[in-house]
Amino acid sequence: MVQTMMKNENNIKLNVQSSQVVSEELPVVKNNKSTVFGTKDFNLWYGDHHALKEINLDIKENDVTAIIGPSGCGKSTYIKALNRMVELVPIVRTNGEINYRGRNIFGANYQVEELRTKVGMVFQKPNPFPKSIYDNIAYGPRIHGIKNKKILDEIVEKSLRGAAIWDEVKDRLNQNAYGLSGGQQQRICIARCLAIEPDVILMDEPTSALDPISTLKVEELVQELKGNYSIVIVTHNMQQAARISDKTAFFLNGEVVEFDNTDKIFSTPKDQRTEDYISGRFG
């Protein structure tokens, strides 16, 4: 409860500063941040295909954690395991644990809807609903039972501001979100995700379908958001990982090869395979 209250205040601050880059507000690096996602000996199979092998990975609060690796290395599978979206594929089996705030999300009576309310997701392809911008943002609060129009108005505005798109769309909240450009659509999707004030935001290659300028805007946004949210971002773009993340995990063939501070990974990787990958020898 105390935690959420604090978070609320952070949000207010963010609102005031609106679209400025909040560089001076970067959190002081705490040495022992609490763990958001603790992954312990996690395995995942698609039918017979062993897609994730013995994953051990701790994701810390208010970090931007980048996951990189060549296509098919399991990075998307891993991020989709964090909110159990991976279970939409019917042939998936798992064992081991992923603990969200200390509770195993694959445990017997873990409510998947509750998990996804705390852990938001932004997808590879912008996927707004074919509804108005307002209804897109209000979707999350509404399905969770918030009906008060004034509260919804407030949430919509705050989320759109938080996603740095308020000024672009405030005059056309009732227009279909499909009228927006791809980059704007993706920020609408981020705003939609912010509307339920999640604890963690998962981003699955959020800029891969966007042009360079939209990509830049989304990257700036990620920087702004990390003051309030823990962010896990899958990217195939190593420069992007280097630019925006605090920690980087390198996946290869379903295994975590290396996980460390981003500057470390990109300057002095321990593993030869990591070095080969980031220097562009394969992938």
């Binding site: 979206m85 939409l88 996804r116 309310t117 997808f123 996927n127 979707y139 995700c193």
Partner: protein
């Protein structure tokens, strides 16, 4: 040495090109023949029937005398029947489509349901009439009522509506569902708030086309035993009634020539009915066609 002699190729070219032209003309003739049939059919019926088409024709009951014959009972009966068919077939059809597309796992039972639906679509309408006669008219003792006919027709067009609804639901991109689940929505919330709103135009278009088939269908009504000369309007679900195609069938069978014109007038009313329904369907399709 060259295997291909250019002069031979060129000589044959001409016949090949001519053959292409000839066949193209033949294929076009085939297409035009089909269109011509439609034109002849429509022109013929309109010219025959339009003279008998006036307000009295709409407001009069059926009669033994052609000049007094009207279509009131049949028109009202068809509209009432549609009011039963539309909700029954759409609720069952859409529910089945949602089940098959969103819930059904790949197993024997669901495969059987799918195969069953595709076979049901090929059962002749007259066989549905026999089903209606046995189950609804006799076993459930509904008699030759609006309800019995409405249920029979609903089952007849059910496979068509299911298939249309399945296609519309399948056309909603998976990303849309993922976005909803990603917000913590439950499956049913995702279906009612994301999938169905996006699929509704497709479902409506398909359903209206299916309904227009039900309106023009005669055979099941004959088998059920719907009366033809009726001088009152149905006053309830269990009331006897008659319908447009039944009335037309009855007139078409009569030996007096005047009744053929009356039948044509009836056909014009029926076809107008169908044109209106189809226009609505096309309007919905064009207005709400979504891009993702």
């Amino acid at each position: 040495m060259r295997y291909i002699d250019d002069s031979v190729v060129m000589k044959r070219m001409k016949t090949r090109l001519n053959r292409n032209k000839g066949w193209k003309a033949l294929f076009l003739t085939g297409t035009l023949f089909a269109l011509l049939c439609l034109v002849i059919l429509l022109v013929r019926i309109v010219t025959q029937g339009v003279g008998y088409l006036d307000w009295d024709f709409i407001t009069n009951f059926a009669s033994r005398r052609p000049e007094n014959a009207g279509i009131k009972a049949a028109l009202v009966g068809s509209i009432y029947m549609m009011c039963i068919i539309a909700p029954v077939s759409m609720i069952l059809g859409v529910a089945t489509a949602i089940y098959l597309e969103e819930y059904a796992k790949k197993n024997k039972i669901n495969d059987f349901i799918r195969m069953n639906i595709s076979n049901l679509a090929g059962v002749p309408s007259i066989v549905f009439g026999l089903l209606g006669l046995t189950i609804f008219v006799r076993a459930l003792a509904l008699g030759k009522s609006l309800l019995a006919a409405g249920f029979t027709m609903s089952l007849l067009i059910l496979p068509v509506i299911i298939v249309a609804a399945q296609e519309a639901i399948r056309a909603v991109p998976q990303e849309q569902r993922e976005a909803s689940y990603g917000m913590g929505a439950t499956k049913w919330q995702t279906i009612t708030r994301v999938v169905l709103p996006a699929a509704i135009p497709g479902i409506l278009t398909g359903s209206i086309l299916a309904l227009s088939r039900a309106i023009g269908e005669t055979a099941p009504l004959v088998v059920i035993g719907i009366p033809v000369i009726l001088r009152f309007l149905p006053d309830g679900l269990l009331s006897e009634f008659t319908a447009l195609p039944m009335q037309i069938y009855d007139w078409a069978k009569r030996p007096q020539e005047e009744f053929l014109y009356v039948a044509s007038a009836g056909i014009i009313v029926l076809m107008l009915f169908l044109v209106i329904m189809n226009s609505i369907a096309i309007f919905i399709r064009n207005k709400f066609s979504k891009r993702y």
